[in-house]
């Protein structure tokens, strides 16, 4: 009970200070993330955008190459997100056996295998 009572005021002070949670999220992200991770994030955003475009195309125009729609960018997105999780210094304790270099090698291998199957779908 005490926890619920104290919660609203605490939140209000925070939102007064930084006007909006989303904005504070953005600020925190922008300040605390390394350039390396931001690069990966940019790639992720690009993949999400291309995925959205594909999805719109699929709904509005035609889902004719259904294969291509599926093969699209989900796999790549997930692999890149895995890479991001692995190289994130905050997760260092979890991935004791995976160094950032190893993570990139894994990412490359996964992508090659993925695109091998994607390529097979093109034919």
């Amino acid at each position: 009970m005490p926890a619920t009572k104290t919660a609203p005021p605490a939140k209000q002070t925070v939102s007064h200070a930084q006007s909006h949670p989303l904005l504070s999220l953005w600020n925190a992200y922008y300040e605390s993330t390394s350039t390396r991770l931001k690069t990966i994030d940019a790639f992720l955003v690009f993949l999400v955008l291309s995925g959205v475009i594909q999805f719109l195309y699929c709904i509005l125009v035609s889902n004719f190459p259904f294969n291509a729609f599926l093969a699209g960018c989900v796999g790549q997105f997930v692999l890149a997100a895995s890479l991001r999780a692995q190289v994130n210094p905050a997760n260092r304790s979890e991935f004791k056996e995976v160094s950032p270099e190893r993570a990139f090698a894994d990412f490359a291998l996964g992508s090659i295998v993925l695109h091998f199957f994607v390529y097979n779908f093109l034919g």
Binding site: A7, A10, K11, V14, S15, P21, L22, S24, L25, A28, Y29, S32, F66, N67, L70, A71, V74, G75, V78, L79, A81, S82, L83, A85, Q86, N88, A90, N91, E94, F95, E97, V98, R102, A103, A105, D106, F107, L109, G110, V113, L114, F117, V118, N120, F121
Partner: protein, 764 residues
């Protein structure tokens, strides 16, 4: 600290490690050797030959693949199956098995080893069983330690539940599927433990191989998501889980869609939706975790609640909408029959008619697993004690597989590995405790004297076992390999190392007598297990081969053979004759036609036989030697399937007595007595007993003294144990009489004339 027995202390840790790894390799290779050897009884006793039903079809397909290449195999149309329809093979099978043998064949030939494709097919299953033992070792090693791994490898190597599906010559999908199952699970555990996308990719590749090899891949498709979901619900979400699951799902699903028989099912059918749902859930949770890392938790909660609810509602709506619009196929019949055991009986008799799809009888648990079955729960409980992520997996696997094994006999096969793993964990914990030389300190023990004797696996001793993992591993492995010499040396040296970094413990075992008693008991159990396994794997009846050989030698090449569909592949492969229906049960009407012919009287059946150009009818009859998988036991299914298509002509209740019993003796109902199947099974059966009461050993009932007569068929062949009986369909009478009166005329005229020559041996 007191010791129960002395240990050599002059060994360096390096020597101990090296010796134990050497012993481990030796033990593994011995286990592989035992696994292969115990599957070769049939090859040694008889000859190198393919067994039973499905393997024959797989073998024929592999021959096409090996002789004509992959593209030809992909487009193969088989005209002799489903006479007169034929069958497109390429797109309707799981090609993993054939592709494996094809690759082995080509590699061997590239090395200039001209091995016959048949021998590769015959020996594929034993070879893969060795690989299964190895992958089970790897899997169990992740659960506990190497010693448990070796025990598990030994168990799975000779467990009858697995041997029965992988003896030499049983060239079936399951032969390679269990290896793939265990290895995929191993990769998954490894990926989850290390959080490596490399192992995730490997999991996906082996998953792909599994999809290409066996329809049971759906088990993996649902086990891994279930495990992931359980971990998330237990609050154990981690980035490692995210990496492992995402890389497996993204690559594995895309890969599985390459198999033509699977196609778009992974995004269209409900069986695969769990995997997709968990995939989506993990994305959301991972994103939420990321956001939480960047903002204070109060704000986070306000963002989180809103987004999670919105996404959940959207997801549920999307799933419902897609199902409603028919984009996602509803559950299939096989799926329902897993939950409601009566379902298949009511709606899809063709599935329920397969004896493999019946619920498991309890003796078969014991026959297949022997003492493993009662160590199994102990192992699961031990998993609860540590409860790391991988132990959760074993627990879920154990629960799910136990349920499924109870529902269907054939799913016993998926239960066997986890039973071996759990039993090995339990057994090796027992050995760890009782081989540990350290005795509890006396002063503490006095206080705890009541518990001291019972102590099975105290926390102290587990930690001790952990530090001396390799060491105590050595001892058990040595026991397992049954080499007394290496046992004493490896054992002592290992424990010396273990002892050096061990602390005092409060609980443990006193003295040598308790230890030797328990260990002798345990070894005795192992010994009986081995005896049981060799006993179970050894009985084979040769009637089938005899009969099919007769067909091949004595009938024209285009003679059409009618039999129940179970024997279709076998006849096509071993006797090389066209069949009406076979084990690929795609055409229900055609099967029902055969069912109708078998279950109606001769007069009704005869036109059906003639219309389908049937020359020979083959039935399997086990009444003489008690072979329970015979046609009379399957007969009700023929009736039911036929009734599904011709409800006016065939009615199941007519085949039961007034009291609703299924009888074949004097009290059998007329429909039963007049059916073609009954007549063919018991034709001249009573004569065999020379005036004594004839007894059917399967049904345990007395057969009427005056057996059925046949007018439209004549007996052509009966095998030594009467298991296979073949009848020739008579042609129309040359004088235009109907066959019944013609036969009566013959009988009346020439009662004294000896019967037409029938090859049959006197059976004692």
């Amino acid at each position: 600290m007191p010791l129960a027995y002395s240990l050599p202390s002059n060994l360096s840790p390096a020597t101990v490690t090296n010796t134990s790894s050497l012993l481990r390799i030796i033990a593994l290779s011995l286990i592989s050797g035992a696994a292969i050897a115990s599957r070769l009884f049939a090859v040694i006793n008889f000859e190198s030959i393919i067994h039973e039903f499905d393997p024959w079809f797989n073998y024929r397909a592999t021959r096409v693949l090996a002789e004509k290449g992959f593209y030809e195999f992909w487009n193969w149309f088989d005209p002799t199956a489903w006479y007169p329809l034929g069958r497109v093979v390429g797109g309707t099978i799981y090609p993993g098995l054939m592709a494996t043998s094809g690759v082995i064949y080509n590699v061997l030939h590239a090395l200039h080893l001209p091995v016959d494709i048949r021998n590769i097919c015959v020996l594929l299953a034993p070879g893969f069983s060795a690989l299964t033992a190895w992958s089970t070792y790897m899997f169990t090693k992740e659960m506990k330690d190497e010693s448990a791994g070796l025990l598990a490898a030994a168990f799975i190597g000779i467990a009858p539940g697995y041997i029965s599906r992988s003896v030499a010559g049983s060239y079936d999908n399951e032969a390679i599927a269990i290896f793939l199952l265990m290895f995929t699970f191993y990769c998954w555990i490894k990926a989850l433990k290390t959080g490596s996308a490399f192992f995730g990719t490997l999991t996906a590749l082996f998953y792909f191989y599994m999809v290409a090899a066996w329809g049971g891949y759906a088990f993996i498709t649902n086990m891994i998501p279930l495990h992931a979901l359980a971990l998330v619900l237990m609050g154990r979400f981690s980035s490692r889980l995210y990496v492992a699951y995402s890389s497996w799902y993204a690559i594995g699903t895309l890969a599985s869609m390459q198999v033509p028989f699977v196609g778009f099912q992974p995004v269209r059918t409900s069986e695969h939706m769990a995997a997709l749902g968990v995939f989506g859930l993990l994305q959301i949770v991972a994103f939420a975790e990321l956001v939480r890392a960047h903002v204070s938790s109060k704000q986070f909660q306000s963002i989180l609640y809103g987004s999670v609810i919105a996404i959940a509602v959207l997801g549920a709506l999307a799933f419902g909408g897609l199902t409603y619009k028919g984009w996602i196929a509803p559950w299939t019949g096989r799926f329902y029959s897993l939950w409601d055991t009566g379902y298949a009986k009511k709606y899809i008799p063709i599935i329920a008619s397969v004896s493999e799809h019946q619920p498991t009888a309890w003796p078969s648990f014991f026959m297949d697993l022997q003492f493993l079955i009662f160590l199994f729960p102990a192992g699961v409980v031990l998993c609860f004690r540590e409860l790391r992520d991988e132990h959760v997996f074993v627990i879920i696997y154990a629960v799910v597989a136990s349920y499924f094994a109870g529902v269907m006999v054939r799913l016993m096969l998926t239960l066997t590995p986890v039973v071996c793993v759990a039993a090995a964990v339990a057994f090796s914990s027992l050995l760890d405790t009782y081989l540990d030389p350290a005795e509890p300190a006396v002063s503490e023990a006095a206080a705890l004297s009541a518990e001291a004797d019972i102590a099975a696996d105290s926390p102290a001793s587990t930690s001790a076992a952990g530090t001396g993992a390799a060491a105590s591993g050595t001892s058990k492995k040595a026991k397992k390999a049954a080499s007394a010499d290496s046992s004493s040396s490896g054992f002592g040296s290992g424990l010396a190392a273990a002892f050096s970094n061990k602390s005092d413990k409060s609980r443990g075992i006193f003295g040598l007598d308790t230890r030797s008693l328990v260990i002798a008991n345990a070894l005795g159990m192992l010994l009986f297990f081995v005896l049981h396994c060799t006993y179970v794997t050894q009985h084979i009846i040769d009637d089938f081969r005899e009969a099919y050989y007769w067909l091949r030698q004595n009938t024209p090449k285009d003679a059409v053979v009618m039999s129940w569909w179970d024997y279709g592949y076998q006849i096509a492969g071993m006797a090389d004759r066209p069949t009406l229906v076979d084990n690929n049960t795609w055409n229900n009407t055609h099967i029902a036609t055969v069912g109708k012919a078998m279950s109606s009287s001769e007069e009704v059946a005869y036109p059906i036989l003639r219309k389908h150009d049937v020359d020979y009818v083959l039935v399997i009859f086990g009444g003489l030697i008690g072979y329970s998988g015979d046609d009379i036991n399957k007969f009700l299914w023929m009736v039911r399937i036929a009734q599904g298509v011709w409800p006016d002509e065939i009615q199941e209740p007519n085949y039961f007595t007034q009291k609703g019993e299924y009888r074949i003796d004097d009290a059998a109902p007329p429909a039963m007595k007049n059916s073609l199947m009954y007549k063919m099974s018991y034709y001249r059966f009573a004569d065999l007993f020379g005036g004594n009461q004839a007894i059917d050993r399967v049904r345990g009932q007395q057969v009427p003294k005056t057996g059925p007569t046949l007018d439209h068929l004549e007996e052509a062949f009966t095998s030594e144990n009467w298991i296979v009986r073949i009848y020739q369909v008579k042609k129309e009478d040359p004088l235009g009489r109907d066959l019944k009166s013609a036969n009566a005329f013959e009988q009346g005229k020439k009662r004294k004339k000896s019967k037409p020559l029938v090859r049959r041996k006197a059976v004692v």
